[in-house]
Every structure is written in C-alpha cells, then in structure tokens.
Subunit: 338 residues, 2 copies
Amino acid sequence: MADKVTIATVAAHANVSRQTVSNVLNTPHLVREETRERVREAIAVLGYRANQAARLMRTGRSHLLAVRIEPTRDGINGSVLDRFLHGLTEAAAPAGYRILLYAAADDQAEIATYDDLLATYELDGFVLTSTHHGDVRTSWLAERGVPFVTFGRPWGRLGADARTEPAALSGAAGSHPWVDVDNAAGTAAATRHLLDAGHRRIGFIGWPEGSGVGDERRAGWAATAGADLPELARATVDGVAEGEAAAHDLLSISDPPTALVCASDSLAAGAYGVAPPGVAVTGFDDTAVARVLGLTSVAQPLAEAAARCVDLLAGVLDGGAAPHPVLLPPSLVIRQSA
Amino acid sequence: MADKVTIATVAAHANVSRQTVSNVLNTPHLVREETRERVREAIAVLGYRANQAARLMRTGRSHLLAVRIEPTRDGINGSVLDRFLHGLTEAAAPAGYRILLYAAADDQAEIATYDDLLATYELDGFVLTSTHHGDVRTSWLAERGVPFVTFGRPWGRLGADARTEPAALSGAAGSHPWVDVDNAAGTAAATRHLLDAGHRRIGFIGWPEGSGVGDERRAGWAATAGADLPELARATVDGVAEGEAAAHDLLSISDPPTALVCASDSLAAGAYGVAPPGVAVTGFDDTAVARVLGLTSVAQPLAEAAARCVDLLAGVLDGGAAPHPVLLPPSLVIRQSA
DNA sequence: CACCTCGCTTTGAACGTTCAAGGTGATAGA
DNA sequence: TCTATCACCTTGAACGTTCAAAGCGAGGTG
C-alpha cells in the first residue's frame, strides 16, 4: 500500500518493458504465452491497476458516462429515475464504465454542462432522459459527434423507424440510438385486463396532448378500449388533486365509465380516492405510492432499460456501428384497485 | 471547436509561457496585473478549459467525489437517497467537484470498490450513507487516510463529541467528519405536536433495537411523550404490513393510545390504514407516500445535508483542518393524519 | 562597484500511460 | 551466404498539466 504501483513497477517485477505490460493488458495476442503469464502474475502480486487519468491522456477515452439527475418532481414518479440510475451504475461497472452525475436547471444549462464535462473530463458519452419534442440537446450532441443514448425515443420525428437512418455518430441530423419502454403496450395491457374483468366502458385520464409519452399512453388505451371516445378521456396536468378532479368529472357524465386507466400513479392515486367501490383504476410506473395504495399499475423494466442503454453506448464507443434502437415491453402489476 | 485548446494555445495567444497561464489559474497573485488580464482574455476568447486528467496526473487531485447508490429498498424511503443525491450534485458543482456513482451489494463489496476507484480514478473523497454500528467501511477508509464524510453519525462510539478528536485525516482510529439529521428532535417535534393537539397517550412504532437511527427516533418520542412506557412502544421490521400489525396490536391493549408516532412512512402508512378515525398518526421522511396519504411526517433537510457534506469534504481536501460535525434539525410537515 | 533581494517570468522535468517506430534473433527461401 | 519474414520485445515520444528551479531586470545596500 506504500508506493504507487505503476506499469513500470510491474515491468520491473516481470523483467519486461513497460510496453509489454501494456500489451498484455490491451492486446494480449501480441505477447508470448509464457511472458503473458509472468506479467499477469506480477500484476496480481503487486495489485496493479491501470491509472485511468494517464490512460485517458493517451487514448482520449475516460470510460466515464454522464447522466443528469433531475430534481424530484412530485416525488411520486421521482423514484423512477432513482431505479434507472441504479440500473445504469450496475450495468456500467462490468462494462468498464463509471457514471458521473450532473444537475441542470433546463436544457440550455444542460448543454453548457455538456460543454464543460467534455472539455474538462473528456466524457465518453451521455445518457439522456426525459426526451421531448424539439429537444435541443440531442441535436447539439449529434452535431458535435458526441456519443449518446436517450432513454425515451426521439420525438422530433414520428414512429419507431429510427433504424432506417444510416449513422448516429456521423453528426447527421436524424436519428440516434435510443431505448424506450412501449408506453402504448402498457396502457393497452391495463385496458385489456379491465376488459377481461368485464368492464365495457373504460375511461382514460392523461396529460395534455403534445407530450410524446402521454400521447402514447393514450393511444394504447384508445386502440384497446374499443373506440376512442373523446367523452371518456380527460387531459390534465399531472398531480393527485388533478387526478381527483378528472375522475370526478368523468364519473359524473351520463353512462359513466366503470374503470379508469390513468397515465401516471399520481393521477391514479387521486382517481382511486374518489372512485366509488367497484370502479377499477390503474396507474403507471408502479411507484411506491401504487404499492401502498394497492393500485394496479404498469411497471417499466427500468433495470433492463438501463442495461440496454449501457449496451448501446458501449457499442457505439467500441464498435462504431450504429446500434438498433430498443423497445421494451412493460408489465402489469395487478393489485386490489383493478 | 476544431482543435483542442490547451494551455499552450492560450500561452501562445497571450505571448507568455505555459507556466504563467497555469499561475493565472492557480496562483494569480504571482502574476502581474496586466499579464493576468491578457491571459484571462485569451482564455475567454479561446474558450479554454483546464483538462482534469492532465491536472490530476500532476496534482493527484481528481475533483471527483464518489457516492454509493443503493437499490431502492421498499421504494417508499428510497426517494430520500434520490433527493440527497440531487442535493450533492448541485452543491458539488460550484465547489468544483463532480459526483461519481457506484453500486455495491454489501460493505465488503463496497470496500473493494473503494480500492478500485482510488487506484484507477484517484478519487478525492467519499460520501457514505447508511452508516451503522460496527461499520467496517469507515475504519478501512480512515486507516488509509482517505478523506470521507458520512451522512449519518458514527455509531461505533456514542454521543456527538467527535470534535474533541484531533484529526480526521490522520488515519487515527476515532472520529471523522459527519453530517446528520437530529432524528430524536424529529420524533420529539411530532410527539409535541400531538400533545398540543390534546393527545395524552401516544404510542410509538419503530424498528428493533440496535439500529442507531431507529433508537434515536424512539428516544425522541420517549423523552417527549411523558414517560417511556414499554407497553406503548412496538418494534418491528420496516414495512407497510408490519406497520398495520403493530398498530393493530397497540390499539387493542387496554387504555390504548390515541396517537401513533412512527419511525418511517412505511410503518405510518400501514398504521394509518387500520387506525380508526380520531387516532392520529405521524411518519418520518416526508416521502411521496406521506404526501398522497395525507400523513403528517418529519421532513429531513436533505438538500442542506448534502450541501454540508460537500462543505465538510471540501474543507478536509483543501484546508486539512478536521471540520466540526453538523447536526441539522428536521421539520414537521403537518397534514390530515395528525 | 559588487552583491543581494524582490517581483515576475520562463525552462525543463515529471505524472503514468499508449502510440509509432525500431530492434533482435530465429527460421525460411533464394 | 545473403536476405526476407516473422514473432516478440524494447525504446523514445507524446498526451496537458503543474512542480521545482532558475533566469532576469530593477532597485537597494554595504
């Protein structure tokens, strides 16, 4: 533990040159079997570990990935990010990467942070969350050829045909690697579950049009509930009180729905509070709130999503081939509420 | 954006040597006013930013702090870590530090990770959470003279007299810098609030003895509730169902309590579910669950705590003086449940 | 005048790694 | 025998920064 163990220490111990040690680590096939073993043993004995800073200086690769940590919004859906971060960290380690956090108040501040992180720490890549329509961050990164993955598909263009675009690294406008959870499939599964339970008029409480994610969740319900009946859907800002109000409204129309599919656990929590017995309610994200209230909710495979983000980014960094986007299916967690 | 801007670029542009540019950045008083300005201008014009990797190689300071991200346990109290992490990241940036995440299954794995992070990334320091009795992590770090702060006081020794110890950096066994929230004050405030509301028999639902935090929360209740009546306290593993059971038990004794102070929102959520109207319940941590259920809960000043952690660590790293520990008061968020 | 001090600046080296190029000895082909 | 090829290994240089030391005028002191 006394002195630092560098590549030179190992070289001396194994009676080879620095470069040979380096080769054992990076291009083992160049080194004779016997020598390789001798060096490996010296590494083990001395407890040598390659210094990233020095390696970075030569190679330009920091093995650092950055993710933004957002302020907990309403606290209910906040734990989603928490779990995603944990998944990222766990998936990154075996791939040889570490996760660096940064905070930013808005997209512009985030771009300034990119600039700073790239210049001072020479980050290898970014994982972006909360993508939205007209996201300036992705184009900034793409223009500069900075590798990145988004958790959430690119909303600037429609559909999931991103794989038809040639290169994500080339800086060309267009697509980039992404991982997303199939939101529509989630609400569709919830709706189907309600249909199976005998419900025939199923309402939907979601967010105002324009948020890609919200629109998807609505579409999944609409496609499954039979017909997209505008009178059975309500759009509101996210929140418990808002969910209450919307549910109250929906349940007081003539021929009211007997079940409510909600775009978030916050909305569902509010709706469930005012729904009379027998009216089923489902939420989205399978948060702690859903667990405590006994809300049936759509669960996103966050650990899996995080792992795929790391895979994609590692692929771009190592291989260079533009990887295919990944769309993951959510699952329905059934509890008392539906 | 084309070529890299290094200290040499700036030096050439300002007609000085590399070292002078370095001095402007690190020891400005050594440089003549006029020269200083000229260099500063060149830096601004060129958009120069010091490369951390190169700086690290010379100075041994990475300006990186590491924090462990834990798997969301029951999901209810998980958001506490989330908010703490966000606070850390925000506080670290202006101080010139960045936050690196790591995951570890247990304390032993965590120590292995320290070893790795220190060797490969030369981390400046660690922020530890979830400290507990007989924590092997702190002694490992202290022995090696690695700077660290804990969020949560050292439970190995009693009391808050850590400041009497000479040095936290010296590697001597003993105390280290820490930040904590005054758990006892939190449950005391909740209990006092209940007393003010007219309750006279106030029960407590907490965790088994031995977890420092849990014992503290119990002590705050015990000291305020009048007398420490064992018959009014229950200890159980954390969880909603466990809270239900404990509340059920407490409320069925003769002369049952009319109010329940709980050591967590999970326990409180369970208790609140089975408590008849009129029986008040308070939780701890002010999580999303408390917000949704309308639970009165003790809120920890997490952003503040995180900021103080950064302060202490930065103090140790820059100054070297062993900083005083910090004990922060929590606040009571009053809602319908009490 | 010789010498020292002070304020400011420059020069060479070093941190630990990998790249690019070169060296060496053995084997093979002409 | 000379040269080419090959497998393996070593040698300088470089990445961008800061440390340690030294240079260099101007001013002061004996």
